[in-house]
């Protein structure tokens, strides 16, 4: 089974979230073009991480970070496109969870947050 690539777009805090309809008919997969490509150091900022796999020996290093209860994040170091595969329990809060994770990942301040 797999996802299709029929999409709906959602713009949130200057991020374009591409919601991919999967084979269950859910928007379980969210693709995000980050403002800049993630580096390995960025991945360490994510909180509540379970299993983390980084295949750094590959010509295009691949990462796979599992955050139980929230999502699986996959992507390629140096490529701004990342993919969140959300858990069922997180589906209704997808935009919030994804934008929070992106802020953690890229160490971004929330828009309008007090400094």
């Amino acid at each position: 089974m797999t996802s299709t690539r029929e999409v709906a777009c959602l713009h949130l805090e200057n991020l374009e979230l591409v919601m991919v309809v999967d084979c269950f008919g859910d928007h379980r997969i969210v693709e995000v073009n980050l403002p800049h490509p993630p580096e390995i150091a960025d991945l360490k900022r994510l909180t509540d991480v379970g299993r983390q796999t980084i295949l750094s020996d590959l010509p295009r290093p691949f990462f796979r970070i599992d955050c139980p209860g929230r999502f699986l994040l996959t992507g390629i170091i140096g490529d701004p496109k990342v993919r969140f595969t959300l858990r069922q329990a997180a589906l209704t809060k997808a935009p919030k969870i994804v934008s929070q994770a992106v802020r953690e990942l890229l160490n971004l301040k929330r828009k309008g947050a007090k400094r």
Partner: protein
């Protein structure tokens, strides 16, 4: 051929293919399932054997249904793999020609525990011949049933046809949407590829062999 199959298998073996709390295994941009090969084998083979015993005139339609299921599986699974970030990271850097997509997807298949697939011949856009030394379908049949008079690797037949249809009837390289309309377009249109299993371990052959060509 630029694909280093050992490198692909090694990279894929580092990916944790384990279930999450939703009961899903997200990997290669799709959801995998993990279950006993014999669960599938017994389900399909018992259905076929019932038809053979009670409605032998319907055996070809029954087998066609199982092969169709294999083609659907190939469409979503192989298509999803070739559109995935894992593919982009592991296989794409090795691709030098369009044909390498075929070698690449077979390398990934060989990391999934479906038996050892070997590409015997590829005539791009025309013909694909694959052998499988230890297909799990043939192993399942041999383990439970007497020698067969007909080939029994239905899923693998659908898989072989799927590779050719995704690459040469459609064009997975253009990242199309994998939806039912596209499946119909590339699997059920004039010139779509179909696979024939020309040798099968269940019939006493040393390995299973699959030839995929276009329908007339």
């Amino acid at each position: 051929m630029a694909i280093d199959e050992n490198a692909v298998v090694a990279a894929c073996s580092h990916l944790p293919l384990i279930g999450n709390e939703d009961g899903l295994i997200p990997a290669f941009g799709l959801y995998l399932t993990r279950h006993y090969a014999d669960f599938y084998n017994r389900s399909s083979f018992e259905a076929v054997r019932q038809v053979e015993q009670y409605r032998p005139e319907a055996i070809l339609q029954t087998e066609a249904g199982l092969i169709e299921a294999g083609m659907l599986c190939a469409f979503y699974t192989f298509g999803g793999i070739m559109l995935s970030q894992e593919w982009e990271a592991v296989v794409t850097p090795m691709i030098e020609s369009d044909d390498d997509w075929v070698y690449g997807v077979i390398a990934v298949v060989n990391s999934l525990g479906w038996g050892k697939w070997r590409l015997e011949q590829l005539i791009p856009g025309e013909r694909l011949e694959i052998s499988i030394a230890n297909s799990y379908e043939s192993a399942g049949w041999i383990g439970h049933y007497p020698r067969s008079q007909r080939p029994r690797c239905y899923l693998a037949q659908g898989g072989c046809a799927g590779i050719m249809n995704l690459l040469y009837q459609g064009d997975i390289r253009q990242a199309p949407a994998l939806n039912p309309d596209y499946f119909q377009e590339i699997f059920h249109s004039p010139g779509s590829f179909r696979c024939q299993e020309i040798a099968c371990r269940t019939m006493g052959d040393d390995m299973c062999r699959f030839v995929t060509t276009r329908t007339l």
